[in-house]
């Protein structure tokens, strides 16, 4: 008797350990993933010291040591290091493997500079001179360094002016030209005739000429600005003695990593991280920031939530509160649950066929006929992407909302009805508020799922590089037909489609980390909202 019960207890203990161990493993995997992303992503921002190597053969090179490993299949057990040498415009390759035994000497010169540029990636070398056309502004390292800072600041301001001109006046006048072109096309398509038509045509032609003139003026100013922007150059000398002149305007940042103390490195890392989060991508997404992708992801998820919440909740209310339990309702429920298991790319294909070609195509034919054959809504865009994802996530919302509604005790409904409230009043004032935390849980899950979804978006409006954000200062401010960038796709694109995969690896990790953070932040916001609702409803609320 005693033996038997203790062996049954032992089985119970094993089960406890099994469950606990499984949970621990899950946690380990999740924290491991987060740690891998965080460490690798952070290395994208952390400044590495510049090392100058003199090789046995006499060659010199300057760069940052990225990794060190045992040489595979080497009988002598030698090690090699991988050096990021930059200077892609000179050498053509970003990285070099160096056998450690070939290194004759190794130093960390304080005067080595790392230049972050708008084009061609990093440049490692030493500053030699500063010029404006043929005039030498400063000669020698110290003079160049001293003169560089104020000049660089001025150039950054000029760059901002150029960008403002491009985004402002140029964009406005080219939008105006396009608008007039479409108006002319509309007139062509219309049935009107006679004097009225001639008058309209003349009016349009006049305005078109004015708009073109405005555009020309702005373009002339732009090219003048560009010219002065590129007037000054900084001359640099690479480790092997090659000299290179780089327009000061193209320099994003000058870093002398070997001079930096700990505080300086942290400051630099934070400033790079800030640029990463708020800047726009350069060099086919391998450099610069990813703000458009963050913006696109967040906007798309919120649009999706705005659509999916009412649809899912209303459907759940019908299923739970109005529909009579029966074969049909059970069938609908099973169908909804199965919908949640359909591969997301299938939803993408459906979105392409239905939303983009069907609905979007019809909208174009009815409202934007003058722009055809160039599609307006009849091509992928953030609206169609949001709707496709809403379709994908609606089962999640329905299931969670139904559960939330089912958890509201019938006594509460009867209490309201017994006061003379109608079923609708009961639903709106008692049942739905009481079920709100459960409903919100469904929306949170849907948003999390949508934020991480990439496959269906690739065919309904997500692009590698969007020319403009879906929200800007031009009327009507929110452009739902525009294509957009997405963090998930950015990870794929940069990581697997970029010409220089090795160089962008840390960037991929940083982007992935940011995507995780965006999802966490979105969820956190929704969870806080839910908790506030719960505490308002009191200690015993449902959901």
């Amino acid at each position: 008797m005693r033996v038997g019960s203790s062996s049954r207890d032992a089985i119970g203990h094993v089960m406890t350990w099994l469950c606990g161990g499984t949970l621990a493993l899950d946690l380990l995997l999740i924290t491991g993933l987060a740690a891998v992303l965080a460490v690798n992503g952070a290395s994208h921002f952390w400044p590495r010291p510049l090392v100058e190597l003199r090789l046995a053969g006499g060659a010199k090179l300057l760069g940052a040591v990225v990794e060190r490993e045992a040489i595979p299949d080497d009988p002598n057990g030698g090690y090699r290091i991988r050096v990021h040498v930059g200077n892609r415009d000179l050498g053509g390759q970003d990285f070099r493997w160096i056998d450690e035994r070939e290194i004759a000497s190794r130093g960390e010169p304080a005067d080595a500079v790392a230049l972050e540029r708008l084009e061609w990636g990093a440049f490692y070398g030493r500053m030699v001179a500063l010029r404006r056309a043929e005039t030498v502004l400063a000669q020698g390292q110290d003079a160049a360094r001293a003169a560089f800072e104020p000049l660089h600041e001025a150039k950054r301001a000029e760059l901002a002016a150029i960008e403002e001109l491009e985004r402002g006046e140029i964009a406005r006048s080219s939008a105006e030209i396009e608008r007039l072109r479409l108006a002319a096309r509309r007139l062509e398509l219309s049935e009107s005739s006679g004097a009225e038509r001639a008058a309209s045509e003349a009016d349009l032609a006049g305005r078109s000429a004015a708009a073109n003139a405005a555009y020309e003026r702005a373009a002339a100013r732009l090219s003048a600005l560009r010219e002065s922007f590129l007037a000054e150059t900084v001359e640099l000398e690479a480790a092997d003695g090659t000299r290179k002149e780089i327009p000061v305007g193209h320099v994003v940042r000058v870093v002398r990593p070997n001079e930096l103390g700990m505080a300086g490195r942290f400051a630099l890392a934070f400033s790079r991280a800030a640029e990463f989060v708020s800047g726009v991508p350069r060099e086919s997404n391998t450099e610069g920031g990813i703000f458009p992708a963050i913006f696109g992801t967040v906007l798309m998820v919120f649009l999706m939530a705005i659509v999916v919440a009412p649809f899912g909740v209303l459907a759940a209310i019908y299923l739970r509160e109005y529909a009579k339990e029966g074969l049909l309702v059970r069938g609908v429920r099973i169908a909804v649950n199965n919908l949640a298991g359909v591969p997301s790319i299938v939803f993408g294909v459906f979105g392409l066929g239905f939303f983009v070609y069907g609905v979007g195509g019809s909208i174009d034919r009815l409202l934007f006929a003058e722009a055809l054959p160039a599609p307006t809504f009849g091509t992928g865009g953030i609206l169609w992407a949001s709707l496709t994802l809403a379709l994908l996530t609606v089962p999640v919302v329905i299931v969670a909302s139904e559960e939330g509604l089912a958890a509201v005790p019938n006594a509460m409904r009867e209490g309201s009805l017994a006061l003379g409230a109608t079923r609708l009043e009961t639903l709106v004032r008692v049942v739905v508020p009481a079920a709100a935390p459960g409903i919100l849980t469904g929306v949170i899950l849907a948003m999390a799922r949508a934020a991480g979804e990439v496959a269906p978006l690739m065919i309904v409006g997500m692009v590698k590089l969007a020319p403009a954000l879906p929200v800007d200062g031009a009327f009507p401010f929110v452009h739902l037909e525009r294509k957009f960038m997405h963090l998930g796709f950015h990870v794929y694109d940069v990581g697997f489609q970029s010409p220089n995969v090795e160089a962008v690896k840390p960037l991929v990790f940083a982007t992935a980390l940011l995507l995780v953070l965006v999802v966490v932040a979105t969820n956190l916001a929704a969870i806080l909202l839910r908790n506030r609702l719960r505490s308002r409803l009191g200690p015993r609320s449902i959901g």
Binding site: E414, G415, S416, A418, L419, G420, T422, R429, A434, R540
Partner: protein
């Protein structure tokens, strides 16, 4: 002097049930019930579990309408008109016949909003008017002094007895004529029960009360009239003292003396 029929009180009936039968699907829950409920009195329905007393009560404000598969025959007259008339506004009926449930069911809202719920539904919007109704109703339910400082706190934080009195306050806030109480004290301790019973004596001056209870002592303590139901039939109905002291029916006597139930 003629004897009143056994299923009617000696007084004028506010609510009279005539030949009422009810089926849940195929099973009959009420069997040809005829009973008259007098105004400004407390009428108690007693009987063992499953005898149909709650079902009968829920017929009076048509709360059984919501149950799937219910079929009802017979008439229920409230001030002379049939509550089962299809043209009758059931929400209006439920406004005039309020109800308090077995398990207190405050809404997950503040104390104030719970009481103001009914008046708001019926179109009262002004804050001052609502505040006045809330105070009057809470006083009427003997809860005002306990909650007046925390009207904005959640109703779910109140004790069981307070929650039940809040439900009473919520019911009287819409000025009903009748209050149906479905075993209102079954989940309460004796002290809270005593307070509710005391309150019922106050309430009957203004309202007509119908209480379902499985506690015979409670029926004897609070009610003027008692109906004993058994297996869906009305076995006996009469003035409470008489029914408890000299029951006419053998089954009633067996039940009140505790031989079954």
């Amino acid at each position: 002097m003629t004897m009143p029929p056994p299923h009617h009180a000696a007084e004028e009936s506010l609510l009279s049930v005539e030949d009422l039968s009810l089926w849940y699907g195929a099973s009959r829950a009420l069997d040809r019930i005829t009973i008259g409920i007098p105004e400004h009195r407390i009428t108690a329905f007693i009987g063992p579990s499953g005898c149909g007393k709650s079902t009968l009560l829920r017929c009076l404000n048509r709360l059984n309408d919501l149950v799937d598969g219910v079929r009802i025959e017979g008439r229920i007259l409230f001030r002379g008109s049939d509550v089962r008339e299809p043209t009758l506004d059931v929400n209006e009926l439920r406004t005039r016949i309020g109800m308090v449930f077995q398990k207190s069911n405050p809404f997950p809202k503040s104390i104030f909003e719970n009481v103001a719920y009914g008046p708001r539904i019926h179109g009262i919007r002004q804050r001052a008017a609502l505040e006045e109704i809330v105070e009057r109703s809470l006083r009427g339910a003997a809860l005002w002094d306990e909650v007046k400082d925390r009207l904005d706190a959640s109703a779910l934080g109140l004790s069981g007895g307070q929650q039940q009195r809040l439900c009473i306050a919520r019911a009287i806030a819409v000025e009903p004529e009748v209050i149906l109480l479905d075993e209102p004290c079954s989940a309460l301790d004796p002290i809270a029960t005593a307070r509710i019973e005391e309150l019922m004596q106050e309430l009957k001056r203004r309202y007509t009360l119908v209480i379902v209870t499985h506690n015979m002592q409670q029926a004897a303590r609070v009610s003027e009239y008692t109906a004993f139901l058994y297996l869906g039939r009305l076995i006996e109905f009469g003035e409470t003292p008489r029914l408890f002291v000299e029951p006419r029916e053998k089954q009633t006597e067996d039940y009140i003396t505790g031989r079954f139930g």
